[in-house]
């Protein structure tokens, strides 16, 4: 008989995972952050160029994150809230990727991005043990490693540096920057790093701000062992700017030969109604649990990770 029916993770690991889930929920209950549940299936997906949604015929798409619906809750009056839910990204399968994965996402009202980063660091300390987190700006990371200024990038130079570092098939500046950031992070080893002040063209749904004559996105990532664990924003509240960014996503999609995506008009209307000042963050919970249990692949901590490879 085939053994393919068996879970990819050991039962004892899954029992430990249950304890980590309890600890995660307790962490938020202790901070008076309420647990919510939103729908995995929605009419709209994301316009993000780098995210492909899993589509369900006649029903819509499986959400790549609960971001839009959770912010609609906040716009309707929900206080600070968290959610642990499945998220889906088509075509993402590997040692640290699975099409379906578990996302922990939370939003806090009336906090600064620094406050939120402190909470993220406390969660990491709680689950995988205390260790200081070094903060680096994207500028510092790329300047130190490759002598590149990500805020005023020279596309040709970035592509040359990326190619010399071993990248093949890069099409544009975005490919080169994404590759070089990953490459520089991998060289930092086992440090815990907050990466901050993203270039404005990587703002996603974060606010931007002028800082030393350049526009930077108020966004951070927590990176542990070169692995992206959390991605947080000081949340954009401007519905016009949201539409502008979706449109520019669709322009880039067209340039790359990808189909355009519908703009989530429910989310847009919620922003127009008024999203309260808030900061939010998404955590790859399977990855965090894997680090907490000294595992080196998602399949070791997920009951039924995709097979293959």
């Amino acid at each position: 008989m085939s053994e393919a029916w068996r879970p990819t993770a050991a039962i004892e690991t899954l029992l430990k995972r249950a304890e980590f889930l309890d600890r995660t929920r307790a962490f938020f209950h202790n901070r008076n952050i309420v647990e919510v549940q939103t729908s995995t299936l929605d009419r709209f997906g994301s316009t993000d160029v780098a995210i492909e949604n899993v589509e369900v015929a006649d029903h819509g798409v499986l959400q790549s994150s609960p971001e839009y619906q959770m912010k609609r809750l906040l716009a309707a009056g929900m206080p600070s809230c968290f959610q642990i839910c499945p998220a889906f990204r088509k075509g993402e399968v590997g040692r640290w990727h699975n099409t379906e994965f578990t996302m922990l996402e939370w939003y806090e009202l009336d906090v600064t991005l620094d406050d939120l980063m402190a909470t993220v660091a406390a969660l990491a300390d709680n689950l995988i043990g205390p260790q200081p987190v070094v903060t680096k700006t994207v500028f510092e990371l790329l300047q130190d490693s490759f002598d590149i200024d990500p805020h005023r990038p020279d596309e040709k130079l970035c592509l040359e540096v990326a190619s010399a570092e071993g990248l093949q098939g890069a099409r544009d500046l975005h490919d080169a920057i994404d590759f070089l950031v990953g490459s520089a992070l991998a060289k930092l080893g086992s440090e815990r790093v907050f990466l901050t002040e993203y270039p404005s063209y990587q703002a996603a749904l974060a606010k931007t701000n002028q800082h030393d004559d350049v526009e930077v996105a108020l966004r951070f990532e927590l990176v542990i062992n070169g692995l992206e664990i959390a991605n947080g924003y000081d949340e954009l509240r401007d519905a016009f700017e949201f539409r502008r960014r979706c449109n520019s996503d669709n322009v880039r999609r067209a340039q790359l030969g990808l189909p355009p995506k519908s703009i989530d008009t429910n989310f847009e209307a919620a922003m127009a109604h008024g999203l309260p000042e808030c900061c939010g963050v998404a955590v790859g919970l399977d990855r965090l649990f894997a680090l907490a249990m000294d595992k080196t692949a998602l399949r070791d901590v997920m009951a039924f990770a995709a097979r293959g490879e």
């Binding site: 993000d48 780098a50 075509g91 590997g94 990248l167 994404d178 590759f179 490459s183 996603a204």
Partner: protein
């Protein structure tokens, strides 16, 4: 020739990189949450043995290399070429040059079954069996009684290779040698 796209990459796949045949040792999908997907690949160059690392944008492809591995028995060398014979009923002979033989030349025993890698039907590398039996053609006489100290001395094998052997080994002894490390294992009963 066929090609492979990044989503087909897996260890063991043989492809052309900068014109050389390479085998993939590792292929890992990497992607920032809000960014471009890549496949990070470690290759071993099948000609030089060197390890190369490259990262390919998702959707890129690589040309397949026509690489096959076959078992052949070693026959003899004329100094320029090393001759092998197929193990099927055809008894075809294959000649490998010194570039393909590489360090394997030190450990080729007659009739040893070797694994030969062919690229476009030409031999590009030869892997001898893990253990071979080779005769000692030259070594200084050992001093009796020294064996307890576990001392070693150099000995020349019939392939020309020089390895370290225990002091009791004499000219004409047949030794079992580990071809992966080039180390003496034991005196063969032959």
């Amino acid at each position: 020739m066929a090609s492979y796209s990044t989503n087909e990459f897996r260890p063991g796949l043989k492809v052309l990189l900068e014109g050389d045949p390479c085998v993939m040792m590792e292929a890992e999908f990497v992607k920032p949450g809000k960014g471009q997907a890549f496949t990070r690949v470690k290759f071993r160059n099948l000609i030089t043995g060197r390890v190369w690392e490259r990262t390919l944008r998702s959707g890129e492809s690589m040309e397949a290399a026509d690489v096959v591995e076959r078992d052949l028995d070693y026959l003899y060398t004329d100094g320029d070429l090393w001759y092998f014979m197929t193990t099927d009923d055809n008894y075809d002979q294959v000649a490998a040059d010194s570039a393909a033989i590489g360090d394997a030349k030190d450990f080729l025993a007659e009739q040893a079954r070797c694994q030969i890698t062919f690229w476009n039907d030409n031999p590009i590398s030869v892997t001898p069996p893990n253990f071979v039996n080779l005769a000692v053609t030259q070594t200084d006489p050992g001093v009796r009684g020294d064996t307890a100290q576990g001392g070693t001395k150099p000995a020349t094998l019939d392939t020309g290779a020089v390895i370290n052997v225990p002091l009791f080994i004499e000219i004409g002894d047949v030794l079992r040698v580990d071809t992966r490390t080039g180390e003496y294992v034991s005196r063969s009963k032959q």
